[in-house]
């Protein structure tokens, strides 16, 4: 949003927060910015009974959160997990009970806020409150034991130092523990919430806002919503609308209010000042009447208008300008709204309708208009044939008469409310991502665009390869689609599954080698097409084995110039290109060693054995002894010994297994018998029996390449690769062999996890499985599902073989130059406006306002650690782009960057930095290509959870690069550093909820500090730092 420069706000000084919680155990390792607490009136605080840390433990709030964040986070937790329907959950019930217990303990602590037990004999009152009693009286054998399990649960869960109490009692020593209630800052003045305090009949006085939040779902949600706004806006809506009115639509405000920004008496709207009239027309009230505008926006159409506003505010400036043109704004909304606004947009605890956020964020524009891959006829056809729901059918009818891309856009908006992974919106976005990455003169032909659109429901998940490699031409795309069709038509199910597995595996290896630059751009199409052509006409197992082998030879030949690589040579090739430096060689060898170890752990038959055996079987005069020796290796694999005996088979029956047939068939393959007594024809055809083994070895090579740091499955579950399920299951539409790889687990079945589907999305799927084995540093934290797999994927997919020393240094300089711009902006009003304008392209208004306030007050020291590496690097790059003539005066970093870019434009340019240190965006942009998209963080959505938000996080690799540069490591070391540091960061990640964005940079910087202090990943001497 261009105009989201939120003006400065008055805020509580940091010292208020510190003074407010004198007994708080809150970590203060990183500087805090003032919270979203306006100081237009005297700062206000409320009491939380007991130590803050205990309350945080009970409330599930990260103990790394600052006091200023507590009430907003608590309110969010109330919304997210405090209620099931209208009924409080067990979580909330226990939290309420804890608050009661904490008040009792605070009373026991007395005036000086210390709980004291002078001797074992005096312990009874305290133990009673804690739910414990003494066992065996006082003495050296004294122990405490549970007396009241409910109270004892609260005692333990809140972290009361019971072990220390017991130890003191046993040793006959006095026990004392500080037990002060904690003061935390409140949004607005405490009196502003007085009406609600009275309504919930809290037990004490007005200061107990915490009781209101624990007892009123709607007030908690309102507090959460207002806490996510910038302060001026929050104050503005409170004054103009009033809390009692706002609480009525707190759910809409909570989901879609974070982009509201009131400045100078008006609401800043997506599209800026030029769009104000259009918004006034759509909403029915001018943005210059902020209270009425917000009120109308939030209450119209069961929240759909608010959702529309929020989605457009998330979009980039080009998309905003296009989508807010008066007529378009209204027509698109009319399509989105449709005839029925029920169900509303703000029901449940997750936002629905991710589709129009994706649509607005990634909308491709071509010469100022919505892009149409191929031609309009194609998309008309897609809509016409999409007739699943009532809305689908309505738009199928309308589509028949389309003659303008705007009509298509309206159709996309209409169907984006019910996003389907195989629907027209996803198809359009996916095909557009392929098309937009191609040079203007090589856009998709209508014929190929049509093929892609038609095949999308079944093969769409495979298209990420085409958006990653825009050099693959129309013939290559067509060849792939035709081959996939042919493989689908193999009649025998087991052969079909193996064929698809081998086909995808070989192309997966191609993808790795092409990404690493080992298959040159000139060879992309030839190698791709020939690798695919090898599968033409496959129907039998024997043909399949030969096709797989031939296809692999094409890929190896394209990458290494030789088609007869051994497995070790192939692994070495996959590990990375041959570089001359010792550090590069060592890094590559270590990666190769790790890959080999995984292949061994999975007991996969080596390619050498399979090909030698196949060749021998085809030769009439092959040495039988040699063949028998090779064949014995097929028997090396055994299924794990069953844990149940026969009498327990009944209860075992409920346990879900993967494609068991595939693995058990392998254990029964008796090649030795054929070698000994088969006819020449039987022996020649017997190589077909090797096809399942070939499939597993090739799949295994893909798995091991993407094995995330800290992985356990491949090392410990010997049938993990073999369990990859390529079978078609009609009951589960996603579980089919061309869909994105998915984790399959059956709740309570004790049957573990495996992957099903294709190899597309394999890095994410593996990370999704392996995240469960990461051990968090903090007792209360859990691994952040959906977010962590994306972090791991972003560390595993990128490799840094092509990064030069200059490029590494440039990555660091961009970040430092951005920081220096921010520092300079503190004392320069004009520069500050420029800086904030750039940053507002990838920040929500609240953060922009927070930064502006900090800059005005000269608190850059506290501000800089809260800026993300992606933000500072982007700031420096954008500043250079928008103001090429203005190098920041006096900035040595900016001058050094200038010099580096001038001398080495191909290495230090921003495009190169983005391509090498960016991250994949498979969910957001349908590609595994590395990019820095520079988008505002997306919230959680139904069907995506935190995944879209995670893909907006692009700071890690930039930051690791800066660390490597600072510490003097060569760029190739990033191939080890990035996964290891990311893994460590995940261990440290301690988030309160699934939208706790700021927990991420906190963990990243803690990891960086550990690394700088030499506590992590010391690298071998031979990879000694290279000095600049």
């Amino acid at each position: 949003m261009k105009s989201s420069l939120c003006a400065s706000v008055l805020v509580v000084a940091l010292s208020v927060g510190l003074r407010a919680a004198p007994q708080s155990a809150v970590s203060s390792d990183a500087p805090r910015l003032p919270a979203n607490v306006p100081t237009a009136q005297p700062p206000s605080e409320t009491l939380i009974p007991g130590p803050l840390r205990s309350f945080q433990r009970m409330a599930g709030i990260s103990t790394k959160a600052s006091p200023e964040e507590i009430l907003t986070l608590l309110s969010h937790e109330m919304t997210a997990r405090g209620y099931q329907g209208a009924k409080p959950t067990e979580y909330l019930v226990q939290l309420r009970l804890y608050v009661h217990q904490a008040r009792e303990l605070a009373a026991l602590a007395g005036q000086d806020s210390v709980i004291r037990v002078s001797s074992c004999e005096d312990a009874h009152p305290l133990l009673t409150l804690l739910g414990y009693q003494l066992r065996q009286g006082c003495g050296p054998e004294t122990a405490v034991q549970v007396n009241d399990a409910s109270r004892a649960f609260l005692t333990i869960n809140s972290g009361f130092p019971l072990a220390q109490l017991e130890e003191a009692l046993r040793q006959g020593k006095p026990f004392a523990v500080p037990y002060a209630s904690s003061r935390v800052p409140v949004l607005f003045a405490l009196n502003d919430w007085a009406e609600f305090t009275e309504n919930v009949k809290s037990r004490s006085n007005n200061s107990d806002l915490v009781d209101v939040l624990l007892n009123s779902k709607s007030v908690a949600r309102l507090y959460s919503a207002l806490g996510a706004m910038d302060s001026d806006t929050a104050v503005g809506v409170r004054k103009s609308i009033g809390l009692p009115k706002l609480v009525r639509y707190a759910n809409v405000l909570d989901f879609y209010g974070s982009h509201l920004c009131i400045r100078s008496g008006k609401v800043l709207v997506p599209g800026g000042a030029s769009a104000e009239e259009a918004w006034a027309e759509l909403v029915g009230v001018s943005p210059h009447s902020p209270g009425e505008f917000v009120n109308q926006l939030m209450t119209r159409d069961a929240g759909w208008l608010a959702a529309y506003f929020d989605a457009l505010a998330h979009a980039g400036s080009d998309q905003q300008a296009y989508l807010t043109e008066t007529r378009r704004l209204t027509r698109n909304y009319a399509a989105l709204r449709g005839g029925d606004v029920v169900p509303g947009s703000a029901r449940g605890v997750l936002r629905s309708g991710a589709g129009f956020w994706l649509l607005t964020t990634r909308l491709p524009l071509d010469s100022g208009h919505v892009a149409v891959p191929g031609d309009l006829q194609i998309w008309k056809g897609v809509f016409v044939h999409n007739r699943l729901s009532k809305r689908d059918r309505e738009w199928a009818r309308r589509a028949a008469s389309w003659n303008d891309p705007q009509q298509m856009l309206e159709g996309l908006f209409a169907l984006s409310r019910d996003l389907r992974r195989d629907g027209p919106v996803e198809a359009y976005l996916s095909v557009s991502e392929i098309d937009r990455r191609r040079p203007a003169q090589q856009r998709l032909s209508p014929e190929v665009a049509r093929l892609l659109a038609e095949h999308f429901p079944r093969l769409g998940d495979q298209y990420v390869v085409f958006s990653e490699f825009p050099g693959l031409n129309d013939q290559s795309i067509t060849a792939f689609l035709n081959a996939a069709d042919a493989l689908d038509n193999i009649s025998l199910a087991t052969v079909r599954a193996n064929a698809i597995g081998i086909f995808q595996s070989v192309l997966g290896l191609w993808q790795i080698l092409a990404r690493q630059g080992q298959i040159s751009n000139q060879d992309l199409n030839d190698s791709w097409q020939h690798a695919i052509a090898a599968f033409a006409g496959v129907q039998s197992p024997t043909q399949l084995f030969d096709a797989g082998r031939a296809s692999l030879r094409v890929v190896m030949s394209a990458a290494a110039g030789r088609a007869d690589l051994t497995q070790d040579e192939l692994i070495s090739l996959l590990a990375g290109p041959n570089l001359v430096t010792p550090a590069a060689q060592q890094t590559k060898e270590e990666l190769a060693k790790k890959m080999s170890s995984v292949m061994d752990a999975q007991r996969l038959v080596s390619l050498d054995t399979l090909f030698a055996l196949a060749s021998g079987l085809g030769e009439g005069k092959a040495n039988v002894e040699d063949l028998l020796s090779l064949a014995t290796q097929l028997r090396e694999f055994e299924l794990p010994r069953p844990i149940f005996n026969r009498s327990l088979e009944d209860i075992q029956a409920g346990r879900e297994k993967s494609d068991v047939r595939h693995t058990t068939l392998q254990t029964k393959t008796d090649m030795q018998k054929i070698i000994k007594s088969g006819t020449p024809k039987e022996r020649a055809e017997a190589r077909g029996r090797l096809a399942p083994f070939l499939r597993d070895t090739l799949v295994g090579l893909n798995y091991t390449y993407y094995d995330p740091p800290g992985a356990q499955m491949l090392a410990n579950n010997a049938v993990f690769v073999r369990s990859h399920d390529y079978t078609e299951r009609s009951s589960l539409s996603w579980e089919q062999p061309w869909s994105t790889a998915r984790r399959v687990t059956v709740l309570g079945a004790n049957s573990g996890g495996h992957l099903a589907g294709s190899l597309s999305g394999l890095p994410y799927a593996l990370a999704e499985l392996e995240q469960n084995f990461i051990v968090p540093d903090n007792v209360q934290s859990l691994i952040w599902e959906d977010f962590v797999p994306t972090l791991l994927t972003s560390a595993v997919v990128p490799r840094f073989w092509g990064v030069t020393q200059n490029e590494l240094h440039a990555a660091a300089l961009y970040q430092r130059a951005g920081e220096e711009l921010v520092t300079a902006a503190a004392g320069d009003e004009k520069l500050r406006r420029v800086v904030l304008e750039i940053l507002s392209d990838r920040m929500l208004p609240q953060r922009v306002a927070e930064i502006e306030a900090a800059l005005r007050e000269g608190r850059t020291e506290a501000l800089l650690p809260r800026l993300l590496p992606g933000e500072t690097a982007f700031l420096a790059a954008e500043f250079r782009r928008r103001h090429p003539a203005e190098t920041e005066p006096g900035s040595a970093t900016a001058k050094e960057l200038d010099s580096l870019v001038r001398d080495y434009p191909a290495e230090a340019g921003w495009d190169r930095i983005a391509a090498d240190f960016g991250v994949p965006h498979p969910a957001l942009a349908h590609t595994y290509a590395r990019e820095l998209l520079n988008v505002k963080p997306l919230p959680m959505f139904m069907g995506y959870s935190s995944r879209l938000m995670a893909e907006c996080w692009d700071s890690n690799n930039l930051y690791w690069a800066r660390l490597a540069d600072e510490q003097g490591y060569p760029p190739v070391m990033l191939n080890r550093l990035a996964p290891e540091l990311t893994h460590r960061m995940v261990e440290r990640l301690f988030a309160t909820n699934l939208e706790d964005w700021m927990a991420v940079p906190r963990a990243m910087r803690e990891t960086g500090d550990e690394f700088r202090q030499g506590k992590l990943v010391p690298l071998p001497k031979s990879a000694a730092p290279l000095l600049h």
Binding site: V144, I156, D626, A715, N716, N750, V779
Partner: protein, 340 residues
């Protein structure tokens, strides 16, 4: 058990520190069966260590046995005992010629066992959370002094509350620091715990306090059963009758503990754990620790272990130990050694 006794522990530490991501395999011998022009078969063949409980017909432990009283076979191939120890005594090297212990103790193995305690803090333990914590605290206090204890808790993720230590207070603080979690992923937690345990020499046991089902694990009980046997760690399960609500889990508890040489206990409540504690402590205190380097064995799959007693003792007494192991393929441990 595939321990790494042949290398000094210090080296393992050093290497793990320098190469945390890809520590090279240390210890053990690589049995390479390589033939000209043929692919190499690689198997890691290390010291196999057994914890053996010997009881009489009334279940009483039999003490005072010597190395020469035992016979070990692997896939019916006779084995020579390399080291021997009883209970909390230090392990002694066995003279290959005489079959008796040498006077000097094996310096790499400390006296006493390493006890890894794993506490289920998932929602299945919610109602008995505090009671179970008391029970664990009692168990930790009751262990003999030579034992070192590590305390971990788990729900969906593992938490290492107290690294292996002989400081009981530290462990008790770890016990009392636990918080209630969400879904249980027992087998995942077992995998990580066994991998930790596998990095320490000497006798190791794993004691699980859990009330039941596994809802979130990625690995199967079969994987864990095999790993526990391959690392030679007996698994003891202390549970209540609530676990019987899920018959699959209860059956797995029984089978897994039995196959690894441990036991499962299902008591009426967490108040009633004394018998289980006494039994586990007795086991830990009376286990014989035997080890051997396997004789050449072409079998890369499951290797069955059989331990018997010579003479009349073989008829009178019962032996409980793990039933076998699967040699690990030649690969590199990815885990840095946990803090001692």
């Amino acid at each position: 058990m595939l321990t790494r006794l042949r290398q000094p522990l210090l080296l393992l530490w050093l290497v793990s520190f320098v190469f945390p991501a890809f520590p090279p395999a240390v210890g053990g011998r690589v049995e390479a069966q390589q033939q000209a022009e043929k692919p190499m078969l690689r198997v890691e063949v290390n010291l196999v260590q057994l914890n053996v409980a010997v009881t009489d017909s009334k279940g009483h432990y039999v003490t005072g046995l010597r190395p020469s009283d035992f016979a070990i076979s692997e896939d019916s191939i006779g084995q020579k005992i390399a080291s021997f120890g009883e209970g909390n005594e230090p392990q002694m090297t066995v003279d290959p010629t005489t079959g008796e212990v040498r006077p000097e103790p094996n310096q790499t193995v400390l006296a006493g066992a390493n006890v890894f305690v794993l506490f289920d803090t998932s929602n299945y333990m919610y109602h008995s959370f505090a009671l179970a914590q008391d029970a664990i605290a009692d168990f930790v206090k009751s262990l003999d002094s030579p034992e070192r204890v590590a305390f971990y808790s788990y729900s969906r993720n593992l938490y290492r509350a107290a690294a292996l230590t002989s400081d009981r207070e530290q462990v008790l603080r770890g016990v009392r620091s636990t918080v209630a979690g969400d879904q249980p992923a027992l087998y995942n937690a077992l995998l990580l715990t066994l991998r930790d345990a596998g990095q320490f020499p000497g006798r190791k046991v794993l004691v699980i306090f859990s009330n039941g089902p596994d809802e979130a694990s990625m690995v199967t009980p079969e994987d864990i059963g095999e790993l526990a046997q391959s690392t030679g760690v007996p698994i003891y399960v202390v549970s209540t009758r609530h676990a019987a609500i899920d018959p699959v889990s209860a059956a797995i508890f029984r089978q897994m503990s039995s196959a690894t040489g441990g036991r499962a206990y299902f008591t009426r409540s967490w108040h009633d754990q004394r018998i289980a504690f006494d039994s586990i402590r007795d086991d830990v205190a009376h286990l014989y620790a035997l080890s051997y380097y396997p004789q050449p064995n072409p079998n890369r799959g499951w290797r069955a272990i059989k331990v018997t007693l010579h003479g009349d003792a073989g008829k009178k007494y019962r032996i409980r130990t793990r039933s076998g192991y699967r040699p690990q393929p030649f690969h590199f441990s990815k885990e840095p050694a946990p803090s001692p």
